[in-house]
Amino acid sequence: MSVELDVFVGNTTIMDKEVYQLWLNGYTVNDAVKVRIEGGVMEECEASAEVLLSDTMDQYRTFQMCERLLHHPAKLANQLLFQIPPDRQAMLIERYYAFDDSFVREVLGKKLSKGTKKDLDDVSTKTGITLKSCRRQFDNFKRVFKVVEELKGPLVENIRQHFLLPDQLARDYAAIVFFANNRFETGKKKLHYLTFQDFAFCAGQLINNWTLGAVDNIMEDMDVDLDKEFLQELKDLKILITDKDLLDQHKSLVCTALRGKTNVFNEMEANFKNLSRGLVNIAAKLINAKDVRDFFIDLVEKFIEPFSLCLLYMGVIKSCILRMYHD
C-alpha cells in the first residue's frame, strides 16, 4: 500500500524559499523533511509528517525541473512552462548562483576542469558543505566562466546581463572568473588568512586597471585577460630600483602621498628601498604566466611578510628602546 504518484501543479508555480534553500544546500528529501519538522512548520500549519514529505518531494521535483532553466537565467523570463512572478524568478536565480565563501576559497584560482570537479568530495569533507551543493557551485562557476570567457566588453556587465545576477554577486563572479582565467594561486598556506572578499576586492582592482578593457576602454576588448603590453612595460619599472635618482624621487613622491595617511608611515619610509624592490621585482616578472599565478603569494612573501616582519621588529625594538632610554 503506497502512494505511487503524487503531484501538485499550480498555475503560478509555488516555491517555498525555505525548501529551496534546503535543496540548494544539497539535503536529501528525508533530511530536508527532518529540518523542516525541527523548524516547527508542522505545528504552525497543522500538518503531518506525511504531508511534509509529500510537499518536500513535490518542491524538489519542481526545482529539478527548473534547474535546467536556471542554467540559462535569461530563459527563465521567457519560458512558458512555469509561470513564475518576476520577483520569484530573481530570487531563484540569485539563490541558485549564491555560493559559500568557504567553498569558493577552495577552488579560487584553480582550473575549472573535470579534474578539479573530481576532487570536490575532498572539498566537501573539508568544508562540511554537501557534495551536491559543491557540485552546483562549481558548475555555476564553470558555466559563467564558459559564457563570459569569449565575450567582449566589461566582465561584470556581461555576467550581470547573461545571468541576471544582482550587482554584488556579478562582481564576485567576475572575480572568480578572473582568478580562474589567470590561475592565481590562492591555496598556499600563507594565503589562508585571506578571505574571498579580500581576493574579490583585489580582482576588482586588477580588472578595472590592468586588463585590456581597462586600459583602452574599448568595448571589444576583454576584461578577463591581463593586458600583456602593460605587463611587458612593467619590466621598465626596474629602473626604480636601479637608478638611484629615480629611487629617491619615487620615494619622495610616495612619501608625500602617504604622509599622515598611514600610521606605519615611519616604518614604510625607513624601509622604502626594500619594499620598493620587492614590489618592482614582482611587477617585472608578471610577464611570465607562472609569475602571474604567484602574484598573490609573491605579494605576501616579498612585501607583506618582510614589511610586517619589519613592523613587528620595529615595534618591539621601539618599545624596548623607549623603555631602556632613561632620560
Binding site: L5, V7, F8, V9, N11, E46, V51, M65, L81, D87
Partner: protein, 1107 residues
C-alpha cells in the same frame, strides 16, 4: 467558399538541438490545413530561427474551418535522410470565426511532441477573412458562441434560454486500428490527437447548427467529453444549453433605463401575448398596456383551480400582493431533499438484468406514479405561465384567442415539447429559478460493442436517450418541469460502461424560455425586453412572468427556491415538511440536495464547507454480462451508502442543504468507487437539522453503553464545534413565533445504517438533541461502528481555510486578487485482499490526505478559500486508485470578513445587493457614461471600487509572501511586458475576483497525449505527470495569450487518463482540458480606463451585431 485562412510563421526560439555534430538545428515549418500544405524555407543552423514567412493562404469552406485545426509542424531539415519532426502545434481557429471573439491569433506557442513534450516555441500569426455572405454564414454554424461557463457569461445578457442541445460523434480509436501495430507510438498518438481535434470540431459545428435551428446564438455550459471505449471505438459527446445572448453594451442602457419610451413597435405586441395567454377570458379585450391592470384582472385562481386537482393546494394559488414589483424576479425554487435511498432500494432488483447488451434499466431514485400524476397538474400551471409568457413564437400569437382547452394543451406542452427540458446551467439570472425539487439522477450499465457504422451512432444515442427519459420522469415525479445543473458522465472498464446523468429537478420561470425557432424579426423585437436584471415591470409583463409572479407570490428571493414544488400529501419519498423559516408561508423540506450553485440571492446562515462521501466496494471479477449484472446489483447499495454518509456528515456540520452535488461512480475490475462531493450550507429557510443520536442495538454490558455514550459525546462535541467554526447560529426565536401553525412533523427521523427496521427500541431512546429532531444511528454491527469512526475522522479544515466545490462560498465576498489554480493528482496502490472497510478507510484517507496537502501547500494564502474543488476518481488498473483534484485557492480579506460576520443578520441582504450590483454593473456604467464620464459618480460603484482597493491594500501588507509577490509581479509584469511572458490567470470559476471580464475570446478545448519510453529518466511517474500537467497549463496559457486574452475562466480538466508500465519503463497519459479564454481588466484600472474600454467594447459588439 466563405473563408480565407491566412497564416504567417514568424520565428522560433528555444528549439532543441537536432544535429549533434553542430549542436544546432536546420528548422523549417509545414503549415497544413485540410489537404493543403505550405512550407517555409529552411533556416539553417539556428536554435532561434527567423523565418518571417509570407502569408500562407487557404481558401476553404466554412465547414472545414469549423472542423479542422490548423496544423503547424516544425521539422529539422536533413539532406541525406528523412526530415526529423521537432513537434507540432494545433491551432483551433474557431475563435476567429465569431466576430465577437478574437480577431487574430498571434504569439509564441509551444511546439509539442507527444514523446518529448514541449520543444521550443514558435511565433505565428493567424487570421481569417470571412466573406460577408450572411446566408452562407448561417448554413454552417460559424458564429455561434460557445461557453464552458455554466452561467450567463459576465458580459452578456440572456435574451432567451432555448434549452438543451446534445450531440455525439463516434469513430474508431486509432490506437486500436491494425495499423497501430506497425507505426511508431508518435504517429499513433498524433493520429489520435488529430482525430479528436477533428471530432470535437465537428461536434461543435453540429451543436452550433442545432442552436441556430432553435434560434439561438450561443451555447452556455458547454460540456464535451470523451469516452475511450477501447476496442469498440472513441465517442466524443457534448451537451449544452442553447441561448440567445446579447453583449451588454451602451446601446442597451437606454432601453433599460427608459424601457417604456424606447420600446419598438414589436414590443407593443408582446404584452398582448403575455396577457392573452394567462387570462384567456380577457383575450377578447384589447391588450392592456397598463401593468397594474394586468395583474389585477388576472385572478389566478379561476382558470387554474379548476384544472388543478383540489389537493393541489397551497402551492402558489394564493393571491398575490403588489409586492411583486419589488421582487419582479422572485425565484422560487422548491426543493426537496433528494429522495432517500431507502425509497428506491427495492427498485434495484429489476428483472431482466441479464438482457443482452443492456443491463437493467437505470436505477430509480424515486418513483411514485401518483406523484407524477399530481405533479403534472401543478406542472401544467407552470407551463401555462411559461407558454403565456412566451407567447410561443408566431403561431400561438397569431391564433389570437384560442379556446381555453387548446391553450392549456399548448401551454402544457410548452416545456414538454422540448424533448428534454434540461439545462446545463448551474447559476441563473435572478428570477429564472423558481423552485428546486431535489437531485435526480439515473445510471445504467451497458456492455460496449464495436460501433459498426460511425456515421450512425444509434446505440450510443439510444443509451443516452434512455437515461435522459429517466431523468425527465424523475423530475416529473418531483413535480418539476425542468432539470437544471444537468450533467452526464461515464465510467468505462473493459467492456462495461456505466452511464450516469444527474441534475436538479426545478421549476423555472418562463421569462427566458421560448419554444420553437423564432424568426429573426421576432427575436429582434424581443431583445430590448429581456433586461433581466432591472426590475422593469414592462419586461416582466412582456415576458409573461407577471403571471408567474402572480402565482409565485410575494416571496423573498432568499427562500422562494426552497419551497417545495410537489404536493405535500403525495410526497414521492419520505420527508418532513415545515413552514419556511423565512417567509412562514410555504412548506420547505428538512434537507435539500442540489447539483446547482448556491443561488446568489439565497439566505444563508454562516459559512459553507466541502462535504464528501467516499466509498469503496469490492466486486467479484467477472466477464461480459455477468460483470454488468454484478455491477448493476452493487450500484444501488453504493448510492444508498453514499447518500447516508452525505446526510450524516451534513448533520455533523449542523447544516441542512447541499449544493453542487456530484456523485461519481468509477468501476474497476475488482472494485467500485463512489465519491460524492458537495458544498454544505445552512439555508436559513430550512429547519435546523437535528443532531445525530447513536443507539446501541444490543444494550448488553456497561462498557458497551459507555462506549456508546462516549461516542455520542464526541459527536455532540463535533457538531457544536462545527457550528462555531462555520458560524451557524440561526435565530432560535423562530420556533416560538410560529408555534401552532406548524403541523407537527414527525418528531424524529431515523436513519438506519442497514435496512433492518426495528422501531421498537428506538422509541425508548431519548432522541432529543436540543429541541430538534435527532437523527439516529443504530449500531447494530461492526460496519456501523466503522461508519461512525469514519464520520469523526474527517479532519476539520485548518484555521484560515474554507473549502467548497461551488463557485462561491457563502459569507465571503471580499476576495483579494490573489488566486492560485492548481491540479493535484495522486495514485495509490492497494494491497490485494482488502475488506470493504479496509478499502473504505484507505480511500477516505487518500482524499483527506490530499486535502491536507493542499491546505499545507497553500498556507501562505491564508485566509483563503479553496473554491470549486473538483475531485475525479478513477481506477486506472487493478489495485490502483487515482484521485485528481482541480480547484482554485482565493485569498480574501479577513478584516472585512469579521465585519461581515458581525452583520450576519443583514449579510444576505448585502449579498443580494452586491450580486445585483454585479448584474447591474452595466447599468451603472451606462448611467455613468450617459450622465457623467466617471463611473464613480454612482455611489455603489464608489463603494465597490473602494472595497476592492482596500482589499488589495491589505493583501499587500500581509506578511505572507506569496500573495504579495503575486500582486507585485502582476504590476511589474505589465510594466515590462515587452520581453517577459504575459501572465495568464486560470480559474475553474466563471469570474476573476477584483476584475471585470470585458471580452470572451472563444472556447479552449485541448486534448493532449504524452508518452514516454524512458520513465525513470524523466523522474518516474510523478516526474512524468508533473511535467505533462505543467506543459498542458503552459499550452493553455500560450493559446489564450495568442488570442489576446489574459485569463481562462471555467477551466476544467475533464480527462486525465494515466497508464504506466514501469517494467517496460513506459507511461502514457491523456489529458483533456477546456475553458473560456477571456480578457479582463482590474477594477482599479477600470477607474481610469473605463470610458475608453467601454466605448471600445461597444464598438466591437456593435460590429458584431452588424454581421
Amino acid at each position: 467558399m466563405p473563408g480565407k485562412l491566412k497564416a504567417k510563421i514568424v520565428a522560433g526560439r528555444h528549439l532543441p538541438v537536432m544535429d549533434r555534430a553542430s549542436d544546432l538545428t536546420d528548422a523549417f515549418v509545414e503549415v497544413k490545413f485540410g489537404n493543403t500544405t505550405f512550407k517555409t524555407d529552411v533556416y539553417p543552423k539556428s536554435l532561434n530561427p527567423q523565418w518571417n514567412s509570407e502569408w500562407f493562404k487557404f481558401e476553404v469552406d466554412d465547414e472545414d474551418l469549423q472542423d479542422e485545426p490548423l496544423q503547424i509542424t516544425v521539422l529539422d531539415h536533413d539532406t541525406y535522410s528523412a526530415n526529423d519532426a521537432i513537434g507540432k502545434v494545433y491551432i483551433d481557429i474557431d475563435p476567429l470565426l465569431c466576430s465577437e471573439a478574437a480577431t487574430v491569433i498571434s504569439g509564441w506557442l509551444p511546439i509539442y511532441d507527444t514523446i518529448h513534450g514541449i520543444r521550443g516555441e514558435i511565433n505565428v500569426l493567424v487570421k481569417v477573412d470571412l466573406f460577408n455572405d450572411l446566408n452562407r454564414f448561417r448554413q454552417s454554424s460559424c458564429g455561434v458562441k460557445f461557453f464552458c461557463t455554466t452561467s450567463i457569461p459576465r458580459c452578456y445578457r440572456a435574451i432567451m434560454v432555448h434549452g438543451f442541445v446534445e450531440e455525439l460523434v463516434v469513430n474508431e480509436d486509432p490506437e486500436y486500428q491494425w495499423i497501430d501495430r506497425i507505426r511508431t507510438p508518435r504517429a499513433s498518438n498524433e493520429a489520435r490527437q488529430r482525430l479528436i481535434f477533428l471530432m470535437s470540431g465537428e461536434l461543435q459545428r453540429k451543436i452550433g447548427l442545432k442552436v441556430l435551428e432553435m434560434g439561438g446564438n450561443a451555447v452556455v455550459g458547454y460540456l464535451q467529453c470523451f469516452d475511450l471505449e477501447g476496442e469498440s471505438g472513441l465517442v466524443v459527446r457534448a451537451i449544452g444549453t442553447a441561448c440567445t445572448l446579447e453583449k451588454i453594451s451602451s446601446t442597451l442602457p437606454a432601453t433599460a433605463t427608459h424601457p417604456s419610451n424606447s420600446s419598438p413597435s414589436k414590443d407593443m405586441k408582446e404584452p398582448g401575448f403575455g396577457e392573452e395567454a394567462p387570462g384567456v377570458p380577457l383575450s377578447s379585450g384589447p391588450p392592456t398596456p397598463l401593468r397594474a391592470q394586468t395583474f389585477s384582472s388576472f385572478s389566478p385562481s379561476k382558470s387554474y383551480s379548476r384544472q388543478s386537482s383540489s389537493s393541489d393546494t397551497e402551492l402558489s394559488l394564493t393571491p398575490k400582493t403588489v409586492g411583486i414589483f419589488l421582487f419582479p424576479s422572485t425565484p422560487a425554487l422548491e426543493s426537496e431533499s433528494s429522495p432517500l435511498p431507502s425509497a428506491h432500494l427495492p427498485h434495484h432488483l429489476w428483472p431482466g438484468m441479464a438482457s443482452r447488451s443492456t443491463t437493467p434499466p437505470p436505477l430509480r431514485l424515486s418513483q411514485s406514479d401518483t406523484a407524477i400524476l399530481r405533479k403534472s397538474v401543478s406542472f401544467s400551471e407552470e407551463l401555462l405561465l411559461a407558454a403565456s409568457g412566451m407567447g410561443s413564437g408566431g403561431s400561438a400569437g397569431k391564433e389570437g384567442g384560442p379556446l381555453k382547452a387548446l391553450l392549456r394543451q399548448q401551454t402544457q406542452s410548452a416545456l414538454e415539447q422540448r424533448e428534454y427540458p434540461f439545462f446545463t446551467l448551474a447559476a441563473f439570472p435572478p428570477g429564472f429559478l423558481l423552485h428546486v425539487g431535489g437531485v435526480v439522477s439515473a445510471r445504467s450499465v451497458k456492455l460496449l460493442d464495436r460501433i459498426h457504422n460511425p456515421d450512425e451512432p444509434e446505440t450510443r444515442d439510444a443509451w443516452w436517450e434512455e437515461i435522459r427519459q429517466e431523468i425527465k420522469s424523475h423530475a416529473k415525479a418531483l413535480g418539476c418541469h425542468a432539470v437544471v445543473g444537468y450533467s452526464e458522465s461515464t465510467s468505462i472498464c473493459e467492456e462495461v460502461c456505466i452511464l450516469s446523468a444527474s441534475g436538479t429537478a426545478a421549476i423555472l420561470s418562463s421569462r427566458f424560455m421560448q419554444d420553437g425557432p423564432l424568426d429573426t424579426e421576432h427575436r429582434l423585437s424581443r431583445q430590448p425586453l429581456c433586461v433581466f436584471s432591472t426590475g422593469s415591470e414592462r419586461v416582466e409583463g412582456d415576458m409573461g412572468s407577471s403571471a408567474s409572479l402572480g402565482f409565485e407570490e410575494v416571496v423573498s428571493p432568499g427562500c422562494g427556491f426552497c419551497h417545495i414544488p410537489y404536493d405535500e400529501l403525495n410526497i414521492p419519498f419520505p420527508a418532513q415538511l415545515t413552514y419556511c423559516y423565512c417567509c412562514r408561508r410555504y412548506k420547505v423540506p428538512d434537507v435539500l440536495f442540489t447539483t446547482i450553485d448556491l443561488p446568489t440571492e439565497a439566505n444563508v446562515t454562516g459559512k459553507g464547507c466541502l462535504i464528501q462521501a467516499r466509498l469503496c466496494r469490492t466486486k467479484k471479477k467477472a466477464q461480459g454480462e455477468g460483470n454488468a449484472t454484478v455491477i448493476s446489483n452493487l450500484l444501488p447499495f453504493l448510492e444508498y451508502e453514499l447518500h447516508t454518509q452525505l446526510m450524516n456528515k451534513l448533520k455533523l456540520r449542523g447544516m441542512n442543504a447541499l449544493f453542487g452535488l456530484r456523485i461519481q461512480i468509477s468501476v474497476g475490475e475488482t472494485m467500485l468507487l463512489g465519491l460524492a462531493s458537495a458544498t454544505g450550507v445552512y439555508l436559513t429557510a430550512l429547519p435546523s437539522p437535528g443532531g445525530i443520536q447513536i443507539a446501541g442495538k444490543t444494550p448488553s454490558d456497561i462498557t458497551y453503553e459507555q462506549h456508546i455514550s462516549n461516542m455520542q459525546k464526541k459527536i455532540n462535541d463535533t457538531i457544536a464545534k462545527n457550528k462555531e467554526l462555520y458560524e451557524i447560529n440561526p435565530p432560535e426565536v423562530v420556533e416560538e413565533i410560529i408555534g401552532s401553525p406548524i403541523p407537527e412533523p414527525r418528531q424524529r427521523s431515523r436513519l438506519f445504517r442497514s435496512q433492518s427496521e426495528s422501531s421498537d427500541e428506538v422509541s425508548e431512546l431519548d432522541l432529543s438533541h436540543g429541541k430538534k429532531d435527532a437523527f439516529v444511528l443504530e449500531i447494530d454491527d461492526t460496519d456501523a461502528v466503522e461508519d461512525i469512526h469514519a464520520l469523526l475522522t474527517d479532519s476539520p479544515t485548518p484555521a484560515g481555510f474554507y473549502s467548497c466545490n461551488t463557485e462561491i462560498m457563502p459569507g465571503i465576498q471580499n476576495w483579494t486578487s490573489a488566486i492560485q489554480m492548481f491540479t493535484s493528482v495522486r495514485v495509490f496502490r492497494l494491497n490485494a485482499n482488502l475488506t470493504n472497510q479496509g478499502l473504505n478507510k484507505i480511500f477516505s484517507d487518500l482524499c483527506e490526505n490530499l486535502l491536507k496537502s493542499l491546505y499545507f501547500k497553500l498556507r501562505s494564502m491564508v485566509p483563503c478559500c479553496l473554491c470549486h474543488l473538483n475531485f475525479t476518481v478513477a481506477i486506472p488498473e487493478d489495485e490502483l486508485i487515482q484521485v485528481a483534484v482541480t480547484a482554485v485557492a482565493m485569498s480574501f480579506d479577513k478584516e472585512q470578513l469579521l465585519e461581515n460576520g458581525k452583520q450576519s443578520g443583514e449579510k444576505t441582504l448585502i449579498k443580494a445587493i452586491t450580486e445585483n450590483d454585479e448584474q447591474l454593473q452595466f447599468n451603472l456604467e451606462l448611467n455613468a457614461e450617459t450622465s457623467a464620464p466617471n463611473p464613480l459618480s454612482s455611489p455603489k460603484g464608489l463603494s465597490e471600487v473602494g472595497s476592492h482597493l482596500s482589499a488589495r491594500a491589505s493583501s499587500m501588507e500581509k506578511a505572507s509572501p506569496l500573495p504579495e509577490g503575486r500582486s507585485r509581479s502582476l504590476r511589474s509584469n505589465r510594466s515590462y511586458s515587452g520581453s517577459s511572458v504575459a501572465v495568464v490567470k486560470m480559474t475553474p470559476l466563471s469570474f476573476i475576483p477584483g476584475a471585470k471580464i470585458i471580452k470572451y475570446l472563444g472556447i479552449i478545448n485541448m486534448f493532449f497525449i504524452r508518452e514516454t519510453t524512458s520513465l525513470r529518466e524523466e523522474g518516474g511517474v510523478s516526474g512524468f505527470l508533473h511535467t505533462f500537467i505543467a506543459e498542458v497549463f503552459a499550452m493553455v496559457r500560450a493559446h489564450v495569450a495568442a488570442l489576446g486574452g489574459n485569463a481562462v475562466v471555467s477551466y476544467s480538466m475533464k480527462e486525465c487518463v494515466f497508464m504506466e508500465n514501469p517494467n517496460k519503463n513506459q507511461a502514457q497519459c491523456l489529458i483533456n482540458v477546456s475553458g473560456d479564454a477571456v480578457m479582463f481588466v482590474r477594477e482599479s484600472e477600470l477607474e481610469s480606463t473605463s470610458v475608453q474600454t467601454q466605448s471600445a467594447t461597444t464598438h466591437t459588439s456593435n460590429g458584431a451585431e452588424g454581421t
